[in-house]
Amino acid sequence: MHIDKDQIFAVLKANTLLILSDVGANDVTIDGSLTDLGANSIDRVEIVMNSLQELHLKIPVPELHGLKSLRAVVDLFYRYAAAQ
């Protein structure tokens, strides 16, 4: 799959803005965390899973736990995108 980290971040950002409707586009940064943006546990799951589905990626569930920043999410997605 030909997808780079910027494209992954763009998808994550779009889904973040969709779920967290009171967050501004400039607030979503690669080194920020969803928790800091006000996402609760269900919001985080929803943003990550919606993005995975949009990117047609499959990642084992345990790998999705404990991701602290959007950069960690992007790196994980990228690793699987490159392999798939």
Partner: protein
């Protein structure tokens, strides 16, 4: 109604779970800290462990009643010939409880008996199987439109047991069992019924629900190649999520008249049900504190009078931490000598059935003078608390408290008093 509200006695109980198919087996399994968690071999879900009823065959179990309780046996066999597993588990524990009460017929005295089934969304795997069959071949169970309802359990149980009093299912996620006890407690205290059967119904999860729990990070989903019985580790520093279980437990509750001569197994002294005001899965210290305090208040007891605590203790890091803080907040210095254990380390988390299973566990421990081991607890997250460890301990307590907390901020606690029993009943 005049005079004080009647006391509420437990006069019969039954249980089926991964470590026992009756009360005697359950008592022995608790005492020895046996664990029913085993490896699953599921292709479609991350979850690879569960405390399932893999060896339980309902028809074989029912056959043993053919000579001792022939009328019940005949009705149960006819009504349950083609129904959900959850309903069969419920009938198994309910018939045990009725027979254990010594009544055989709950309305023999002409008074209508209440029936409360704890749980909602009980037949999820039944629905999943029927949907798969329907979507591929247009075939489905002809009884489907009746059987998918949770309330079908009310119908089956009331038909088999000839019950005609008030009846309902009570849904409160993992706190359903305690919520049902809470409801029955108030029916009995208000004089609405003199007798009530409470059935903690087990949930049949499909792989979809299990994967959903894994995604939330609530369920244990590490790979397990060996020692699956070590997966569920409530209050241990290595706890890594709950392990689901299958099972059911039932209790017969009766108004305890002042000079009631009949031996009874225990009492429900108080019960509570409170909301956190949240739709999220995370528990709160404040909500759990209010739950325990409300149950103590209903029982008119102080925290120091509680001699044993059966924790919700699922083994999720957030849940265990929160419950520890809440217990310490309620019991203060008394926590140093308050024995605490979690039955879920042995039975897995049986969700809507769990609180009734744990109520039965409380009664067996209070009356039997022992507290069961906290299996897999080696390094407690809070060394100040008096957690049971790998061995059972002697217990000399008059009152116990049992917690159950559900997703969506649903909290419920029950205060239980030990019983006055003769040799044949316990």
């Amino acid at each position: 109604m005049t005079g004080p509200a009647p006391r509420v006695a437990i006069t019969g109980m039954g249980v089926i779970c991964s470590i026992a198919s009756d009360i005697d087996e359950f008592r022995a399994a608790l005492r020895h800290g046996r664990c029913g968690v085993r490896q699953l071999h599921s292709q479609n879900t991350t979850i690879q462990v569960g405390a399932t009823l893999r060896h339980f065959d309902f028809d074989t179990w029912l056959d043993q009643l053919s000579s001792t309780a022939a009328p019940l046996f005949k009705r149960a066999r006819k009504i349950l010939a083609n129904t959900t597993d959850s309903t069969k588990w419920s009938v198994c524990s309910a018939l045990q409880a009725v027979l254990n009460s010594g009544l055989n017929q709950l309305e023999a005295d002409g008074l209508p008996c209440g029936l409360i089934v704890a749980g909602s969304n009980l037949a999820l795997n039944y629905t999943a199987k029927n949907w798969r069959s329907f979507s591929t071949s247009s075939q489905f169970n002809p009884r489907y439109a009746m059987s998918f309802w949770d309330t079908n359990q009310l119908g089956c149980l009331s038909d088999i047991l000839s019950l005609h009093g008030p009846g309902m299912t009570v849904g409160a996620a993992a706190a359903s069992g305690n919520a049902a006890i809470f409801q029955a407690f108030h029916w009995l205290r208000a004089g609405i019924v003199k007798r009530c059967l409470v059935v903690g119904a087990g949930v049949e999860f499909s792989e979809l629900e299990l994967e959903g729990f894994a995604l939330l990070g609530a369920a244990f989903c590490d790979p397990v190649d060996s020692e699956p019985d070590k997966a569920c580790r409530p209050f241990d520093r290595t706890h890594a999520g709950f392990v689901f279980g299958e099972g059911s437990a039932s209790v017969v509750l009766e108004s305890l008249e002042t000079d009631y001569p009949k031996p009874f197994l225990g009492e429900i002294s108080g019960a509570s049900l409170t909301l956190d005001g949240t739709h999220l899965p995370e528990p709160t210290v404040d909500g759990e504190v209010r739950s325990m305090q409300a149950a103590l208040s209903a029982a008119e007891l102080s925290p120091n009078q509680i001699g044993y605590l059966n924790a919700h203790g699922t083994g999720t890091p957030a849940g265990d931490r929160t419950e520890c803080h809440a217990i310490k907040s309620v019991f203060q210095e008394h926590v140093y000598q308050l024995p605490v254990n979690s039955t879920k380390a042995l039975t897995g988390h049986c969700f809507s059935a769990s609180a009734v299973i744990e109520l039965v566990a409380c009664i067996l421990q209070l009356n039997g003078g022992f507290a069961h081991p906290n299996r897999n607890l080696e390094n407690p997250i809070d060394p100040e608390m008096h957690f049971l460890r790998s061995e059972a301990e002697t217990l000399a307590a008059e009152y116990g408290l049992s917690n159950s907390f559900g997703f969506g901020g649903i909290n419920s606690s029950v205060v239980i008093r030990k019983g006055i029993v003769d040799g044949g009943r316990n």
